[in-house]
Every structure is written in structure tokens, then in C-alpha cells.
Symmetry: C2
Subunit: 135 residues, 2 copies
């Protein structure tokens, strides 16, 4: 079913989708989900081989996830894919969904975010950020 | 409420969340949503100033979105943010969620995807892909 194929991946939404699928509106396949503001950060560690440093960064990101304006977040690592166009040199992917730019701006100066930078930025050598909004 | 802050952004999920919020399980803020497989592609156009070429690429992506294994997709463009770490030189962001790597692999060879490459790849000069899976 369309609505199941398009369902959200959180436990909460899965539960609801399973319970209420019969009454869900069908979302057309060619209609993209509205994202608001997508903030995708890729981290390269100073010590790429250090499992401890990676674990510390993950710990920091889990703390950072408590910022109230974050609607959803996904912590990732490179998948097992390898083509010329794929950059799999990063260590950690940090994908955030915000309702709008104002919420993302607020996140940037949130004390939790400032603490995260203070406490964990020594771990990374490089960060690349892609911010995007609905077309 | 937690479950509302963490809700999915699709119309379908919003409808369900609104209808069933009272009975939703609370998702802890520090528990990231499970993504399965995230495929994020950034496109740079050969003619970055051409609104026509951008519109054509968007048309192609909407067609591409019909691939059955895609769980959710977001078509974006650079947000109005500008810091040293932000790359805002791309034209279009194409963010896909798959259940797993097998579904993404199947997408790569799907006839709809092969047609997309055949019909629209003349529009871009560069593509960068970041594939990530849950940590």
C-alpha cells in the first residue's frame, strides 16, 4: 500500500501506521514529503581509526539530539557501497530535520549545541554541512 | 509532547499523529529514528544559472521518485545559510530513505532509474553521493 511504503521510520509512526493503515490517506508516489529544513553534517575524525573517538562523537551527538527544535535526527556511518560518485571517507553522518530555518538558527546557538562544540570539536578534523529547504 | 515533536513530516503521518496522539508511545529524545539506508545525492548543474535546466532535473527526480523501493524522498535546494563549513554550491539535493541496502541496490538498477540517468544526466556536471546506515 502507498501509505505503508511511504510510512515514517520512527517506532511511534510505525505503531500508528500499523494500527490505522486502513484509514490513512493515500500519498501519491510523486509527491515528496515536506521537509521544512534539512541539515546534513558529515564529520571526518582526526583519528579515523580510533573507535574510542568515534564512540565519543556518537555520545556527543546523542546529547546534542536533545535540542528541542530538532524534529528528527539520524546518526549514520558510511554504507557498504562504493562507486566513483560516492564519498565514503567521512566517519559519521548527522542528519537533522527542522520545521523551518528559524528553528535551525535557534539550534545553532542553543546552549546544548554550544556545549557540544566545546566538548567534542577536538575530535574532528573536518566538517561539511549541506542545508536544504523544499524546492 | 515528545511524539508530536518527533512526528513524521508526511501528510499521512501528520494526519495519524493528530488523530491518535493520545495513545502514541513516547519516543525518548536521545533515541534516533531508525533510517535503514539513507542515500543523499547533491547535483551540480552544467548551467547553474539555468532555471529551465533546474526545472528539468526536478521533473526527472519526480519521475524517479516512483521507484517502488523508495520509502521517502525529499527534493531540496540550498537553504539561506552561509558559514565556512556549509557547501551551498550545489543546485539540487535528493534525499532518499530505503529500508535496507538491498532496496537501494535494487533502485540503482531499476528501469526507472536507468531511464532517469539516460534522459537527465546531460544536465549535471557533478554528483556527490553520501550513503549511510544506522550506527
Amino acid at each position: 500500500m502507498q501509505q505503508n511504503r511511504r510510512k515514517f521510520l520512527s517506532n511511534a509512526a510505525l505503531t500508528v501506521a500499523a494500527a490505522g493503515a486502513a484509514s490513512l490517506p493515500v500519498q501519491a508516489a510523486q509527491t515528496p514529503a515536506k521537509a521544512g529544513f534539512i541539515h546534513h553534517v558529515y564529520f571526518w575524525l582526526k583519528n579515523p581509526e580510533s573507535k574510542e573517538d568515534k564512540a565519543k562523537l556518537l555520545e556527543g551527538l546523542r546529547t546534542l539530539s536533545k535540542v528541542k527544535t530538532i524534529q528528527n535526527f539520524y546518526i549514520g556511518q558510511p554504507a557498504d557501497t562504493n562507486r566513483d560518485v560516492i564519498d565514503r571517507s567521512y566517519a559519521v553522518s548527522w542528519l537533522l530535520f527542522f520545521a523551518n530555518k528559524a528553528d535551525q538558527d535557534s539550534y545553532q546557538v542553543d546552549p546544548v549545541h554550544l556545549d557540544f562544540v566545546k566538548n567534542y570539536s577536538h575530535l574532528w578534523q573536518r566538517v561539511v554541512v549541506y542545508d536544504s529547504v523544499d524546492v
